[in-house]
């Protein structure tokens, strides 16, 4: 399976996203170290969270439970902001697809996943043509019944896509 997720970077909540108690609830020791050693800890925190979310969406049979520490970064390359993440018995390749000052947008695919697979009923894609998230507008334009995604009018290259079971769109660059 493949998945994607989008997370906000600005720290606008009542509690800082870098609050130590909060980090301990969501991340492993090595993930917390990654965040705290970064020059842009808020961006890395948002990225790790989006990786975990996208891995959850990409999992073939995810339990409906809040268990973020069960989704673990096993490898992380700081220069490319990509890596491998494990959730239960499945391993996923994760990478940053797009970011600006407001958001990170990540994609995930299961190791060895055949990118030529298309899942879901294309008719249901009509339900998800626009998506607002934290002031960023994501638009899905359909070309020959395949979605092309833009974030704040920035067109993202996309040739393979799918719909996931959580009603969100999931997709992956080649």
């Amino acid at each position: 399976m493949i998945g994607c997720d989008l997370a906000e970077i600005p720290d606008t909540g009542r509690r800082s996203r870098l609050n130590p108690r909060r980090l301990l609830k969501l991340y492993s020791k090595s993930e917390i170290q990654l965040i705290n050693s970064s020059n842009c800890p808020l961006k890395i925190e948002a990225l790790l969270w989006s990786f975990k979310e996208s891995a959850y969406k990409a999992h073939s049979n995810p339990p409906y439970r809040f268990q973020p520490k069960m989704i673990n970064m096993e490898e992380f390359d700081v220069s490319s902001l990509s890596g491998k993440i494990r959730y239960l018995n499945e391993v996923f390749d994760v990478n940053l697809l797009y970011s600006n000052e407001e958001i990170v947008f990540s994609s995930t695919r299961k190791e060895g996943y055949d990118l030529n697979w298309y899942l879901g009923d294309p008719k249901s894609w009509q339900q998800i043509m626009r998506y607002d998230f934290g002031g960023s507008k994501i638009e899905v334009e359909y070309v020959k019944r395949k979605p092309h995604v833009s974030v704040n009018n920035h067109r993202l290259f996309m040739s393979k896509s799918s719909i996931n079971s959580l009603s969100g769109f999931v997709w992956l660059t080649e």
């Binding site: 997370a7 909540g13 009542r14 509690r15 996203r17 609050n19 108690r21 909060r22 609830k25 969501l26 969270w49 979310e53 409906y64 439970r65 809040f66 268990q67 973020p68 520490k69």
Partner: protein
């Protein structure tokens, strides 16, 4: 603290994380915090941390993973308070 009091305090904890007032107005014990109240999953941990502060309890990971509905969150808090 009885279940009704826990529910009342928990709802006030959840309130700021519900994006639409009408969704909060419809809150019930059976409400799913993510699906029905549309709380961003990244904020579920804030609800758990707020609950720890308000009820002066420590919610471990095993308990936290069950806190996806209002009822199950009340159950977790009630059990921890009664220990």
């Amino acid at each position: 603290m009885d279940r009704q009091e826990i529910a009342s305090k928990l709802k006030e904890i959840i309130r700021p994380y519900v994006p639409e007032p009408e969704l909060f107005d419809s809150i019930q014990e059976s409400s799913d915090i993510l699906k029905d109240l549309k709380v961003n999953s990244a904020h579920l941990v804030d609800i758990i941390l707020d609950a720890e502060e308000v009820f002066d309890i420590e919610i471990d990971d095993e308990s936290a993973e069950r806190m996806l509905t209002v009822a199950s969150a009340i159950d977790v808090i009630e059990n921890l308070l009664n220990r």
